[in-house]
Amino acid sequence: NAGVTQTPKFRILKIGQSMTLQCTQDMNHNYMYWYRQDPGMGLKLIYYSVGAGITDKGEVPNGYNVSRSTTEDFPLRLELAAPSQTSVYFCASSRRQGATYEQYFGPGTRLTVT
């Protein structure tokens, strides 16, 4: 199993541009998450999904959108990128309700907005 994969690994965006960060997991996990990690600030939850077609906001959702059309994929959309969105983005998944503390993370996407 590849686990959780993310593309791209790195990206530089200009202010106002848009992009989609891709996340795929092959573990048949129902739960998926998007976090951002700023230097010295820990991981903050952006959005999460408990299954295909169901998504909900986390702690820092402003400026982002998500969709979940399949169990495997959970893309994160940035509209009108701003410098404050410069961060490392991690996608994660977990297998079942009641065990969502066991999260498996992808390798991350490093995004710079200039």
């Binding site: 999460y48 986390g58 969502t100």
Partner: protein
């Protein structure tokens, strides 16, 4: 007050030393407590988790939770250079409508050969 507080370090120790990493938390709803390890430019990986208060041992690693004082600890015995990483503690419990992980900021550990 942040829900999970963690000293960011950096912490530098000689190979073979016993390492103690600590966190405090404020949310009484946390049920599980996790330690994630994150190597440089990689995603976090779950190292250990503990349910409620008590100890859990896995090889050279021991996780400890004291819910009465809201204190979480990770001990690493016989530390190795390969243990050099950032260690993130986290609490898991119900908040804002769902069960969520709340992370500390991480402690950067360097084990010097």
């Amino acid at each position: 007050q942040k829900e999970v507080e963690q000293d960011p370090g950096p912490l530098s120790v000689p190979e073979g030393a016993i390492v103690s990493l600590n966190c405090t938390y404020s949310n009484s709803a946390f049920q599980y407590f996790m330690w994630y390890r994150q190597y440089s430019r990689k995603g976090p990986e779950l190292l250990m988790y503990t349910y409620s208060s008590g100890n859990k041992e896995d090889g050279r690693f021991t996780a400890q939770v004291d819910k009465s004082s809201k204190y979480i600890s990770l001990f690493i015995r016989d530390s190795q250079p390969s243990d050099s990483a950032t260690y993130l503690c986290a609490g898991w419990g119900f908040g804002a409508g769902s069960y969520q992980l709340t992370f500390g900021k991480g402690t950067k550990l360097s084990v010097i050969p």
